[in-house]
Symmetry: C2
Subunit: 149 residues, 2 copies
């Protein structure tokens, strides 16, 4: 398995942790120099916090590990396109590249609803690489909602 | 003093807490039914976290108080225009109205860099009320950077 797919598989493992908790299954990992330094899964319902998205939880852990708010040279792998809050948090963290799975046409801020990184005047721009294991990342979400109905 | 100015004064008190810690002095409070249910100040450096913005800290506290990720019927008062991450977190929290002080022409996501709430297809829209105690809120930031130089 190629490196990016391996990292995204780790993000999918995180998404499965969310699923077990009855949370919308979204996961993320943050990688520096080939090593995972932060992991997170969606826990919005169980944490009773609007901040409980996978990316935010992964960023919290990565900052703790780095001892800095600057995640320079780090990349994030997330199972679906980030929302406006998470894209903003990734931007604030100075993360280099966002690797994500499927587009989120209802909520994504990397090109679906709008593209944060097409706004002029930002003091940092992230590279965007969509489509990594997009089937695997989106099917668990689709299945989750199908079972709920 | 009118209600909105009183609430913004509480946000400015939060900003002063940040200043004492050597942090960029930005503060926020979240209000429900006339009562402050969350307070936060910028602590990005001391918390070593990119998530350490005033609004995020106030949202965390308000969700804890409400026992829910939904801050329906709540308003936020913040001493300067929110950044993309914070505007996104306010949006995710379903906060009703954002009262803020001065515009942040370098970093604001409520009309300066761009306006998150002008994007089509969001599942929630916040009202924006700029200009509340904007002199008081921005002068402490200007002074902070002047002293730093």
């Amino acid at each position: 398995m190629k490196f990016h797919e391996k990292m995204m598989s780790a993000a999918i493992e995180e998404a499965k942790k969310a699923e077990i908790m009855g949370e919308v299954p979204i996961g993320a990992v943050i990688v520096k120099n080939g090593i995972i330094i932060g992991r997170g899964h969606n826990n919005r319902e169980s944490s009773e916090s609007s901040l409980g998205h996978a990316e935010i939880n992964a960023i919290r852990e990565a900052c703790l590990k780095m001892g800095s708010w600057r995640l320079t040279g780090c990349d994030i792998y997330v199972t679906i396109e980030p929302c406006p809050m998470c894209a903003g948090a990734i931007y604030q963290s100075r993360i280099r590249t966002i690797f994500y799975g499927a587009n989120d046409f209802k909520a994504g801020a990397c090109g679906s609803l709008f593209n944060l990184f097409e706004q002029k005047g930002l003091n940092h721009y992230c590279n965007l690489v969509p489509g990594i294991l997009k089937e695997e990342g989106s099917v668990i979400i689709t299945e989750f909602f199908r079972k709920k109905r």
